[in-house]
């Protein structure tokens, strides 16, 4: 009776509420079972099984990020086979340098680094502004590292490797959160985060501050404020819109004080970005996205120098600053012809604008147009072919093609061999192409005409073995490689080269390098509470080293280990071990000797006033191994800090 009554009232409500879908939808009916939904996990949103990717891929997920204790984004890449992480302290202050298979320089990069598909390589020299990431490590969902060239799939600049940060959806972090860290080495960090949303519109706001004193005895402190706003909006059932904007602002200490031209001083760094990405899915196999973003970088570094000697005695004002802006528009479509054949194609337009007053030259913008496509063909249950190419045309060095062919052969259900041959390009940056790199007297000529550089090319050959043990939750990936890198762009007159002259310096296609080696990674997650990751690399670089010491630009051997365990549902303990061989980075580096380093983290969670709290102690270089980074006076010390975090659910 009562039920009938309730039903009557309910039905009466239905009648009244003609537009009241919410009321109608309260009662479970067959509609829930028969409803069609738009495809949420479309092909473009799904990450590929590591045994099916055309290149070797390492994924660093949030669990690994937390376990590593890293507060410096660049430090995370120590865990990835083939990567080295180093730090320079001059010109812009403390800057991490991340490289894959060596060949890394201070302010250049042969890696493509993306945040949610948006490049953060600096448009002037192509380097990565690692200190300018406008959020905290907790905002990352995972980092996909493509270990090898991948122009056809990851675009312009995907030369030696590609790093793609994928940040969390707004709806993954709802509620309010705050954390503060303080410790030795001047570590003073704070982050506030708030996320909310309803009705298909979710947003997250993150603001924070990062500071540390850098290396002991070196004037390389960093102070940075950052903020990011992200919104995920679903205007319709098959559409989603990502809107992001943010920036960083702060100062770096720099200058050795050793010469009048390099006084101790503070430089200002400011970045900003905005990004919009619209995704539409027609059906599970067919979707596209359109993305636009811009990124600006400004370095302000003005100081006066008193010249003691004639003819230019007196006060000279030096502007060591720079400005760069990158604008990029990209479209990509993924469609499956049938379950065994999938196409991805797209194109992009990019403009890089740079101003560098110290180069005394007006720099023309660089325009790059790119078309790319690849096809994934599941020939049978065992064989997967992936073929693709990128055609790039740019306003300075013309057109070129980067093709790629990969074959994945799954010879048992859990073991795969991958054969991959690919060619990739690195377009010279605006400054490489047009600038001259030394502070000379105004009007010093460039050696060679501007715009005469060829893109760097790599021909990469890879054979990989990927094994998965689903029942043990373990994966092993081993890659053997043989890469030829040609037309490496470097500076005439760089240190150690026979024809070294102080002025002028400009970039030329000078060297080649032949890289061979083997690298691998084993990741084991026996339970949700335990994680073990081991990676190791052996690498040999052969080069004539005409302009730089490429042949020693990466350690011969590295081993990294990360182990993490959760106890009693509230304790997290993790330890990281790094062993890196001796090497000497390209550029103005000193030799770095081999070192071992141990990091550790211990955290405890507890319930706290309507939410949860966590206290963590992080130790970097626990045993105080005094190894050096880029320069001999950049000596690593033990550093420890405490982090307190509080999260209140919505």
């Amino acid at each position: 009776m009562l039920r009938g009554g309730a039903g009557g009232i309910f039905c009466a409500l239905c009648c009244i509420g003609a537009s009241g879908n919410d009321v109608v939808a309260q009662e479970l009916s067959e509609r829930e079972f028969l409803a069609e939904f738009p495809t949420v996990l479309s092909a473009s949103r799904l990450r590929q099984d590591p045994s099916e990717t055309p290149q070797a891929v390492t994924v660093i997920d949030q669990a690994m990020i937390r376990a590593s204790g890293a507060r410096e984004f660049a430090e995370l890449f120590r865990l990835v086979p083939g990567f080295t992480v180093s730090y320079v302290t001059y010109v812009k202050g403390l800057q991490p340098i991340v490289s894959y298979h060596g060949l890394g320089r201070e302010f250049f990069s042969r890696l493509q680094v993306l945040i949610d598909g948006r490049s953060i390589n600096n448009a002037t020299l192509g380097g990565v502004d690692w200190s300018e990431v406008p959020f905290a490590p907790e905002d990352i969902d995972r980092i996909e590292v493509i270990r090898g060239p991948s122009n056809a799939t990851h675009g312009i600049g995907a030369f030696l490797a590609t790093i793609n940060f994928i940040t969390r959806y707004a709806l993954q972090q709802q509620g309010a959160e705050a954390s503060v860290s303080a410790g030795g080495g001047g570590v003073r960090d704070g982050v506030m985060r708030f996320g909310s949303g309803a009705g298909g519109f979710d947003y997250r706001l993150v603001a924070g501050h990062r500071a540390d004193d850098g290396f002991t005895g070196v004037d390389d402190s960093r102070r940075r404020n950052f903020a990011t706003a992200r919104a995920d909006w679903q205007p319709g059932p098959a559409d989603s819109l990502l809107l992001q904007a943010g920036g960083t602002d702060g100062s770096n200490g720099t200058g050795s004080g050793a010469t009048a031209f390099d006084p101790r001083r503070s430089v200002q760094l400011t970045t900003s970005y905005a990004q919009a990405k619209w995704e539409h899915s027609f059906n599970p196999a067919n979707s596209f996205y359109v993305q636009a973003y811009w990124y600006t970088f400004r370095l302000a570094d003005q100081y006066g120098v008193t010249l003691p000697q004639a003819p230019a005695a007196g006060q000279v004002s030096i502007d060591g600053g720079s400005f760069a802006r990158r604008s990029d528009l990209e479209i990509q479509q993924t469609f499956g012809m049938n379950p065994n054949l999938r196409w991805v194609w797209g194109g992009s337009l990019r403009e890089d604008v740079a101003e560098v007053p110290s180069l005394y030259a007006a720099i023309r913008p660089l325009h790059v147009e790119r078309l790319f496509g690849h096809v994934e063909w599941r020939i049978d249950e065992r064989l997967l072919a992936n073929a693709g190419a990128m055609i790039e045309n740019n306003s300075l060095s013309g057109s070129d093609v980067a093709p790629q062919l990969a074959l994945n052969y799954r010879f048992t259900p859990d073991q795969t061999l991958r054969f991959n041959v690919s060619r990739a390009l690195r377009t010279p940056t605006v400054i490489e192409n047009q600038g001259q790199f030394a502070v000379g007297s105004p009007g010093s000529p460039r050696e060679g005409p501007a715009g005469d550089l060829l893109p760097e090319t790599i021909l990469s050959r890879e054979i990989s073995y990927v094994a998965q043990w689903p029942e043990r939750h373990a994966t092993l990936d081993v890659k053997v490689f043989d890469d030829s890198v040609r037309d490496l762009i470097d500076l005439i007159g760089a240190r150690d080269s026979p024809g070294a002259t102080p002025f002028p310096k400009n970039a030329v296609n000078g060297d080649s390098a032949h890289e061979r080696g083997i690298e691998g990674q084993y990741v084991w997650r026996p339970s949700a509470a335990t994680l073990l990751s081991v990676s190791a690399t052996w690498l040999d670089i052969d080069s004539a080293d005409r302009l730089d010491n490429y042949s020693k630009s990466a350690p011969r051997g590295t081993v990294h280990l990360l182990a993490s365990q959760r106890f009693a549902e509230v304790w997290d303990a993790s330890v990281t071990f790094h062993r890196q061989g001796a090497f000497r980075a390209s550029g103005n580096s000193d030799p770095q000797r081999a070192f071992s380093r141990v990091d550790a983290r211990l955290a405890r969670q507890f319930a706290l006033w309507r939410g949860e709290g966590e206290i963590a102690a992080t130790f970097e270089n626990l045993f105080d191994s005094h190894y050096t980074e880029y320069r001999l006076n950049d000596v690593a010390d033990r550093r420890a800090w405490l982090t307190f975090r509080y999260r209140m659910p919505p």
Partner: protein, 346 residues
């Protein structure tokens, strides 16, 4: 007493031309009905959408040839049922309702007139249990159903078969599905599964609930609930689960296509065929109806691209279906519905 009035059934918008046609059909039916002595089966549809039509097609096929081909199936949509007069209505040998709204419309007729033997198809068990049905005559069942839902035991067995490594089952319970909580926990315990539930009272509470549930779950089992699982919440639910590497097990083909790893459901055809068999027996045995039951035939589907992406090795569909079928045969399907005997003998 206060049974839901038939006119209140939420009908979908019908194009004007079709509406005119339906009205004409209804008038024609009302006019013809009293003159036809052998009015036999009345099929009441919630509306004209294709899912319902598929059931009718199966019924037609299943009843074909009965009574020397003289058996007639009359079709009507729920919103027009009130136009059928009481005498005509009570002369039907069997009424088959397709959809919840149709069942509610038929039940409301039952308050005033004697209800012919009634078979409800495409109806959730909960909706059937809540129907205001007249009491049965002693020893004779007047109303039965083939539920659209799958028995929980079958869903839990599927989890063990498809993802044997996953023991921690996360379940979001909404206002409708919360009633299943105890049965779920008992069934899980019997299969050595640990169930973690989060109860949400409104849509906006889903994501916060997921944030606490996903870290404690190896997989997420979806139970039908219009508040917790709907077109608005599904997008975030699937994305958040995927990002947490927690596979989702769904209860419909729509959920599978959207991004669930596995789905267990019965198609309208499968339910129509089972309905036709019940109707056949009922017509042959002069109104004897079996107990309300879960669908006997079911479909297991696996989303291969999601499985690959999550790095999961899931047995193929046929294998899962065969293994699950071996445990959940015809007898089981009826027995499992033992708890749902609304309108049955005490």
């Amino acid at each position: 007493m206060s049974a839901p009035p038939a006119f209140a059934a939420p009908a979908r918008r019908v194009p004007r031309r079709r509406r005119a046609g339906l009205a004409f059909a209804a008038i024609l039916l009302a006019w013809l009905a009293p003159t036809i002595v052998s009015a036999q089966v009345l099929v009441v549809l919630s509306d004209e959408s294709s899912g319902y039509q598929a059931v009718v097609a199966e019924l037609r096929t299943g009843l074909h040839g009965l009574r020397d081909g003289e058996l007639r199936l009359d079709n009507i949509i729920a919103a027009r049922l009130a136009d059928v007069d009481a005498a005509t209505f009570s002369r039907y040998e069997l009424v088959v309702s397709v959809g919840l709204a149709a069942a509610q419309a038929v039940a409301s007729r039952g308050a005033a007139t004697a209800l012919p033997p009634t078979l409800c198809l495409l109806i959730p068990r909960q909706g059937f249990d809540r129907l205001a049905l007249p009491r049965d005559n002693a020893g004779e069942r007047r109303v039965t159903a083939v539920f659209i839902d799958q028995p929980l035991s079958r869903q839990l067995d599927l989890l063990r078969l498809a993802l044997p490594e996953s023991h921690r089952v996360g379940v979001i319970l909404g206002p409708s599905s919360t009633a299943l909580g105890d049965e779920l926990r008992a069934g899980a315990k019997a299969r050595s599964l640990d169930v973690a539930t989060a109860t949400v009272g409104e849509r906006s509470a889903l994501y916060p609930a997921l944030q606490t549930l996903l870290p404690r779950s190896d997989l997420l089992l979806l139970l039908p609930d219009p508040v917790a699982i709907n077109a608005d919440t599904l997008y975030g639910l699937l994305l958040a689960s995927y990002r947490a590497r927690v596979p989702v097990v769904g209860f419909s083909e729509g959920l599978l296509k959207a991004g669930s790893l596995v789905a267990l459901f019965s198609t309208p055809q499968q339910q129509g065929a089972q309905g036709a068999e019940i109707a056949r027996r009922a017509l042959a045995h002069d109104g004897g109806l079996p107990a309300p039951q879960y669908p006997r035939e079911f479909t297991v589907r696996v989303n291969a691209s999601v499985a690959r992406s999550l790095g999961l090795r899931v047995p193929d569909e046929q294998e899962l279906q065969a293994a699950l079928g071996a445990r959940h045969g015809e007898g089981d399907a009826t027995r499992e519905a033992g708890g749902a005997t609304h309108g049955g003998p005490p």
